[in-house]
Symmetry: C2
Subunit: 291 residues, 2 copies
């Protein structure tokens, strides 16, 4: 890391939505490494302003590489949510985007990899390396053990084990960073809708009696998938996750220690304690399929 830091020059932080981009920027600032911020318009929030970001639209790919070049950045971190799928009819490509268009189209339509992995390859073809947020801000990773006063009981531990195996299995299908398991039964599986909507669904299914509603039961399990692109796409929890897990009357949230980012850690733990939810980092190595 430190060798890489010394030769790598300034870092470009490409910021999407949520609290994590500013937390990463603050961590990089604290580490002393020079950096610039490129904020995606419509995704990144005003909390990036203290870092004097370059605001870019989808389609300003030429300008993006120009900024990297003039700042001397050969490493970038991509961090934050991208909730809106860009409407490509509304995107105005700049000249640099047009010049790269054949390559971009070829990357997006070809191959068996995910779109994300193909986008990363486009960057790497331009001599830009993607660095993981957790490599420049490891303090954002979930540690092992309970972070809250509450801890998982035996029933929750069994749900965590089942959920962890399910997420690992789903990895082959490139889905399922999150699942909810309740009393040993799978209540919900996250695919395109994301964790928040899945939790809203669990709350609703309890309300209408399609899931047992008595007491605080069930666990949200989030972990990385085998084969996941760990540099850009780590599962994340934050205060909103806790809020929705509490609304779904879950017993708690289990995240993979060292594999899930916690946004706004203080607020997240405080919200969980207030709602009497546990939030725990768990080692999940033994939960690989076939293990």
């Amino acid at each position: 890391m430190s060798a890489a830091k010394s030769v790598a020059g300034p870092l470009a932080i490409v910021a999407g939505g949520g609290a994590l981009p500013a937390e990463v920027a603050a961590a990089v600032a604290a580490s002393g490494r020079p950096f610039i911020v490129i904020a995606i318009r419509g995704e990144a929030g005003p909390e990036m302003e203290p870092f004097s970001p370059h605001w870019l639209d989808w389609g300003q790919i030429g300008r993006f590489f120009d900024i990297l070049k003039s700042a001397g950045c050969r490493q970038i971190v991509m961090i934050g949510s991208v909730t809106r799928r860009p409407d490509f009819r509304a995107v105005t490509p700049d000249l640099g985007a047009l010049a790269r268009l054949p390559k971009i189209v070829a990357a997006l339509i070809g191959g068996d990899d995910t779109v994300l992995k193909r986008v990363i390859r486009i960057f790497e073809d331009e001599g830009v390396t993607i660095v993981a947020a957790q490599d420049v801000a490891p303090q954002l990773l979930a540690p092992q053990g309970p972070l809250t006063r509450g801890r998982p009981d035996a029933a929750a531990l069994a749900d965590i084990e089942a959920g962890s195996r399910l997420v690992a299995t789903l990895g082959a299908f490139d889905i399922g960073q999150g699942v909810v398991v309740l009393g040993g039964r799978v209540a919900a599986v996250e695919a395109a809708e994301g964790t928040d909507r899945m939790l809203e669904r669990v709350a609703e299914l309890k309300t209408i009696g399609r899931l047992p509603a008595k007491g605080r039961r069930g666990v949200l399990v989030k972990r990385t998938k085998p084969g996941q692109e760990l540099r850009t796409d780590l599962p994340t929890v934050g205060p909103r996750t806790v809020e929705l897990a509490a609304a779904a009357r879950l017993a708690g949230i289990a995240v993979e220690a060292g594999g899930v980012l916690i946004a706004e850690r203080g607020a997240t733990i405080a919200a969980a304690d207030k709602a009497k939810l546990f939030l725990a980092g768990v080692r999940l190595d033994s939960a690989e399929p076939g293990a």
Copy 2:
């Protein structure tokens, strides 16, 4: 079958909701086998009335076995949806239920099997055999091949293949009769919410741009899971499935030939043709995990 029919005496059809119970009753009537209908109050609809059903509440387990005994029924078919989880605080058990309570509780809390399999065991302990709806009404099963004018194109076939593998894999977790795959990517996985709500979610995710909304894309895949209890729990599609798949702007619906029941076949196919969806039965044997 015919040997079983001749020795088995009259059949009891236990009717939940939806169109299938009346279709099964009509098929059994047409076959000439004597039968009675026991309709679950709050689930079965008025379309059961022509079959002079015994209406039973949850909790009337004693009366249920009394009816079977006095009608001489030693085989039952359980068919139709049970959308409401019985509120056991509101259930008034009859004497026969109370007498069986220790056995029922032991069955419900013990073992690794699903609740359904345990309920079946309770019946079997009482000398009652569960017969599959498709054994007394095989004409309700999806046949192989397209049922509609529309047929799956190459993209849809690839989605069907991926979806089928996913459902088979999810079988180990006792979920996932239904999934939606779109452009090779898993858009939604059904767990406790059921197929209808999953399709509503896909429609919503397309509307808000979390899934590609252009054109009619994506396939709902429904199939049995390895280890599924085939006598009581076969996946089902019907006009409402088509309606929701059309609202989600899917290309079509693929069901396992011989493994999925089609309710209101005429109306289902007509609705699919009208919406320009394909509905196809596909052989999925090659899609077992590891195959």
